[in-house]
């Protein structure tokens, strides 16, 4: 892995990254708790430990840039300029905010895909539209290591490279696709090398190192925005939890990856900031309190929104009747 450039971001940015990371971690946990209570069982695909990747990227984007998160760290999408924590919580709790995370094209969110990988070619389409309409926006498309093996990813990169589109592909490499480990899926560790096959700049980065991730993201996004064309980043991380909550993880050797707790980006980044003298013990306490307060207030606000009964709109959308 190439060492990232050492130009440190401003203190303001450093703290914003920390606050976003904290919000993502606490917010997602809170939402999960609410959902489990509601359904009587924990479910869902959780991504604690992987949030630094989207958070670092999102802090380099503008309101009109396009962005696709990996489904596992979907909640982090709140950090996209233009979106708010309320949007993320509303999405999670089945309410409809002004800007649904899942689909607000003017803020660069054009949906995901139930079939992994397919969205890649759609975001390439967004990048083409951005070029033709000279919006100056860049697109960042994140997906998992597993999804990156799917066919559409290839065509997405072929076209992006051939047309030198302003799009950055990111592989959030947590080493697992459901129960299938990287050992069964690749004969290579650094998936970013795939970029070379398209003539794209490519880079591997420790996705659990917030600062490194931020600097690498910034470098690629700046380059892309300046007209430098597409690139591929492989951000290494680790799936701390099961594929979905409740999955017994029979496929994981006992104790595998226990030590990854120590690479958890939250305490790690906190330590880094304290060493840099940017964050004090008091700041940490204050920010915890602030973030918790914001999450709780927002959840209350969202819970008071009515559950949209858009089923009528939905059925009305049929062509030629139901």
């Amino acid at each position: 892995m190439e060492a990232p450039s050492l130009e440190l971001p401003s203190k303001e940015v450093l703290l914003k990254l920390y606050r976003d990371l904290l919000t993502a971690r606490r917010g997602e946990a809170e939402i999960f708790a609410i959902q489990s209570k509601a359904t009587g069982r924990g479910s869902g695909h959780r991504g604690p430990g992987e949030e630094a990747i989207p958070i670092a990227i999102l802090n380099n984007l503008t309101e009109t840039d396009c962005f696709h998160p990996n489904f596992r760290t979907y909640f982090c999408h709140f950090a996209k300029p233009g979106f708010t924590l309320k949007d993320a919580i509303a999405q999670s709790l089945g309410r409809r905010s002004e800007h649904p995370l899942i689909f607000t094209p003017e803020l660069g969110a054009m949906g995901s895909s139930g079939t992994l990988g397919e969205a890649s070619v759609r975001y390439v389409g967004a990048a083409v539209a951005n070029v033709i309409q000279k919006t100056g926006d860049v697109t960042v498309f994140i997906q998992g290591d597993g999804a990156s093996n799917r066919a559409p990813t290839h065509e997405a990169m072929v076209v992006a490279a051939a047309w030198q589109l302003p799009i950055i592909f990111v592989i959030q490499n947590n080493k697992y696709g459901m129960g299938t480990s990287w050992r069964k899926s690749y004969n290579i560790e650094d998936l970013s090398v795939r970029g070379a096959g398209y003539g794209m700049p490519h880079e591997r980065v420790d996705g659990n190192d917030m600062l490194a991730m931020y600097l690498v993201a910034k470098k690629h996004i700046d380059r892309c925005r300046a007209g430098g064309g597409p690139s591929l980043i492989c951000a290494d991380t680790w799936r701390l939890r099961a594929h979905y909550e409740g999955d017994a993880q029979i496929y994981r050797p006992k104790g595998e990856g226990q030590d990854w707790q120590k690479y958890d980006p939250l305490p790690r980044y906190e330590k880094q900031l304290r060493e840099l003298g940017v964050l004090s013990q008091e700041d940490v306490g204050r920010l915890e309190a602030e973030v918790t307060e914001e999450i709780n207030t927002t959840i209350k606000e969202v819970e008071s929104m009515t559950v949209p009964s858009s089923f009528e709109d939905f059925t009305a959308s049929a062509i030629d009747g139901l």
Binding site: A129, I132, W163
Partner: protein, 335 residues
């Protein structure tokens, strides 16, 4: 009014819409470098330049995805498949994403995307991938309007409407329309020419056209089979059988009213399509008639029938799809 060929009418439709709205763009394989093989996209690059028309690498899935994504981001794109069958390489994107529009749990807003592709039919060096008619597959998706024209006048008016539509529309165009058509009871080369108004016109999606009136039997069909049906009807008339030919023009939405009106008049129904028979679109037409007018089917003078592509891959044998001859003999069995 000038008499023009089918391919010319189609080319005019593309160009007029691109002039009218700068958001209209198109991409596909070799649509610049080889004018999309048949000449559909001739001169578009020269007039509009490389921002508006693009040759893609051989990436059918990217063509689908880009068309959807660019539509979301404000363009009005046309994704072009050299052959309709190649679109099956992008079936997830086209059927599940464009056709079902379920982005997560929400139904998004409008998608002004057009998908265009060419059905080669059982041609010289055809095989199923190049030749097949895919409409029965795509008609199964909730949100895909499907246009299948047969004449120069229709293709121009329909393709313009397709491009302006704010929802996804597929145009599956039969290559045989480009080179031949019905004339005086025969299928003749270069016969698919027509006078087409110089002033702008649109044909609404979902309106069938009675291409020939008759009283003894209704032949419901679309795409190139309209020519076979017209040729059959022409010759049947000489034998004293009066066949009405209803050209659906779009199969989704389906103009059930027009079909029912015709069948009420003639009392007999034959559905003809080139797509393979099993689970082909004929079954949908029949159910829709029955759901519209439950008493009509039991009152028919003879049982309804269908004539469709055989349940076999489309190798180079013309008898695998309906012909003027098989339409005629089927009608004679029915009347």
């Amino acid at each position: 009014m000038a008499e023009i060929r089918y391919i010319e009418a189609l080319n005019q439709a593309f160009r007029e819409e691109m002039r009218r709205d700068e958001k209209v763009v198109m991409w596909g394989e070799d649509i610049i470098s080889m004018n999309d093989v048949h000449g559909q996209t001739r001169d578009i690059y020269d007039e509009f330049g490389g921002d508006r028309i693009k040759d893609t690498p051989i990436c059918e899935q990217a063509i689908a995805g880009m068309t959807i994504g660019a539509a979301y981001r404000g363009l009005r794109p046309i994704g072009i498949y050299m052959n309709a069958g190649f679109s099956l390489c992008a079936f997830d994107g086209l059927f599940l994403k464009l056709g079902c529009k379920s982005v997560g749990r929400y139904v998004p807003g409008d998608i002004p995307a057009t998908i265009y592709g060419v059905i080669a039919g059982p041609i010289g060096d055809g095989d199923n991938d190049h030749g097949m008619s895919p409409e029965s597959l795509y008609a199964h998706a909730p949100y895909l309007k499907i246009v299948m024209p047969s004449t120069p006048y229709d293709v121009k008016g329909l393709v313009k409407s397709a491009i302006r539509d704010d929802n996804p529309v597929m145009v599956w165009d039969h290559a045989w329309n480009f080179y031949q058509g019905h004339k005086d009871g025969k299928i003749e080369r270069m016969a698919n020419v027509q006078e087409v108004p110089e002033e702008e016109y649109l044909i609404p999606l979902g309106k069938a056209d009675v291409k020939r009136e008759g009283t003894d039997i209704t032949i419901v069909t679309y795409s190139f089979q309209v020519h076979n049906a017209l040729a059959a009807a022409y010759n049947l008339a000489e034998e004293g059988i009066s066949a009405e030919v209803v050209d659906l023009r779009t199969i989704v939405p389906l103009d059930v009213d027009a079909i029912v009106d015709s069948v009420k008049k003639t009392g007999r129904l034959l559905i003809v399509h080139e797509a393979m028979k099993r689970a082909g679109f004929a079954g949908e037409i029949l159910f829709r008639i029955s759901e519209h007018s439950p008493d009509l089917i039991p009152s028919l003078k003879s049982p309804f029938r269908r004539l469709a592509g055989w349940n076999l891959p489309l190798v180079n044998r013309p008898e695998l799809v309906p012909t003027m001859g098989t339409i005629m003999s089927t009608v004679k069995e029915m009347v």
